[in-house]
């Protein structure tokens, strides 16, 4: 119970450091590089939530326990939230660095695809009344969506060159970051992941209460 206060203090610290601590000079980015502390962790949580949702969906299909469906939907719901956050932070950064909020960079296209999948998933869920049918249909859809995503890794790089800055761990496998930046970045990554897990656990607890009331 007390852990949430600790999480609050941790995130507060991360935000203060991320916004105020001086960062080293980076060509063509400068202070705009600070978006890294927020954009990358939210994007990471989006992918994590997508993965978790698919794992819970498979679990549901194997065990037919309705709780897994609640878990999958909770993970997907939080994933959608973080996906929107990652898209918005990315778009704002793109406005100041590339000159437009949206220009169909491969990275933007792939996050747009994730938004579409999450949107379709919830559209399907709200269009089905019976609880068991809803669980089955949405799990099947989650699995189907998950297996089509890898094709993007082959298609997207060929369409246009990406202008997106290097991933944190670049092609040579080295972490190309200043020491103080790296510390803040890792703290932020840990903080956002923790925030996600904390929110997910609350949602799952709520689902359990709803289930026990139904019985």
């Amino acid at each position: 119970m007390k852990s949430k206060y600790f999480l609050f203090v941790w995130m507060l610290g991360v935000f203060c450091f991320a916004l105020l601590y001086p960062i080293p000079f980076i060509p063509a980015l400068g202070d705009k590089a600070r978006v890294l502390y927020f954009h990358v962790p939210t994007a990471w949580v989006t992918v994590l939530a997508f993965l978790l949702s698919m794992v819970y969906s498979v679990q549901y299909l194997r065990k037919k326990d309705i709780l897994y469906d609640y878990k999958a939907a909770s993970a997907a719901g939080l994933g959608l939230l973080f996906c929107i956050l990652a898209t918005v932070t990315g778009a704002v950064w793109a406005k100041f660095n590339w000159g437009a909020f949206w220009n169909w960079d491969p990275r933007q296209t792939s996050i747009f695809l994730l938004l579409l999948i999450y949107g379709a998933y919830f559209a399907l869920r709200s269009a089905t009344e019976s609880e068991e049918t809803r669980a089955k249909l949405s799990s099947v859809y989650a699995v189907l969506a998950f297996i089509t995503v890898p094709f993007f890794m082959f298609i997207l790089p060929r369409i246009v060159e990406s202008l997106h800055p290097d991933p944190i761990i670049n092609e040579s496998g080295k972490i190309n970051m200043d020491r103080s930046m790296l510390m803040i970045f890792i703290a932020s990554l840990a903080g956002f992941t923790w925030l996600f897990i904390w929110m997910l656990r609350i949602k799952i607890r709520l689902a359990k209460i709803e289930l026990s009331e139904l019985d």
Partner: protein, 220 residues
């Protein structure tokens, strides 16, 4: 399995030929769509890239207005229970897949014909163009069939169909649009090889997953 599947497919064809329920509507849908595009374009000249995109937009929406019927009609008529009793899920899916692929082939052929007649587009290499259309047709109909099975069990059967199928189809559509554009420009088969690889592997993955997942949807 094949025998049952072919019997189901034959049944669907027979009921389609007797009622002409989807095909009449679909033909009108395609004509209306192409005339809207013609009216809005006027005398405008389009680039090959835009033509390729337009062609696949028409194909996608005409398929998504017709292919859901195979499963939705079974639910509406209440005949799905009888089908469940008489045939195994795998042969039901295979039969519906064959039917949908054929229907989609007819739709696409009609779209392409009408498109080539009405639009001012020259195809530099015809063989590769047809290859992309036919392979794309297989991928499209396999995704559309499993999504049709999904939405036939949900409450809203119409509007959800393109919404659910589009995210899954996006990788396929991007490579077919690219392939079509290249064939308009006159690329040979070797330049299209990577597109063909993606389309074929995508179709195989989708069909395999559909066969595994269809049991769960069908026996709810």
């Amino acid at each position: 399995m094949w025998k049952q599947a072919l019997a189901i497919c034959k049944k669907d064809f027979r009921s389609e030929i007797r009622t002409r329920y989807s095909i009449n509507g679909l033909i009108m849908f395609i004509i209306v769509t192409i005339s809207i595009i013609k009216f809005s374009l006027g005398e405008e000249k389009l680039s090959n890239e835009l033509h390729a995109g337009l062609l696949w937009i028409i194909i996608f929406f005409s398929n998504s207005s017709g292919l859901s019927r195979v499963f939705v009609a079974e639910e509406d008529r209440g005949t799905s229970f009888v089908l469940k009793l008489t045939a195994s899920p795998k042969s039901v899916f295979l039969g519906k897949l064959i039917f949908n692929t054929t229907l989609s082939f007819v739709i696409n052929l009609f779209v392409v014909l009408l498109f080539l007649v009405t639009m001012d587009v020259k195809i530099a290499s015809f063989g590769p163009f047809m290859l992309i259309i036919v392979l794309g047709n297989f991928g499209l109909s396999s995704v559309m069939t499993i999504i049709a099975a999904l939405i036939s069990k949900s409450n809203s059967k119409g509007s959800l169909y393109p919404v659910l199928s589009f995210p899954l189809l996006l990788p396929l559509l991007l490579s077919t649009i690219n392939g079509t554009w290249l064939s308009f420009e006159g690329s040979g088969i070797t330049e299209l090889l990577s597109e063909v690889q993606i389309i074929v592997s995508y179709t195989i993955v989708i069909i395999t997953a559909s066969f595994l997942l269809f049991d769960i949807i069908w026996n709810e």
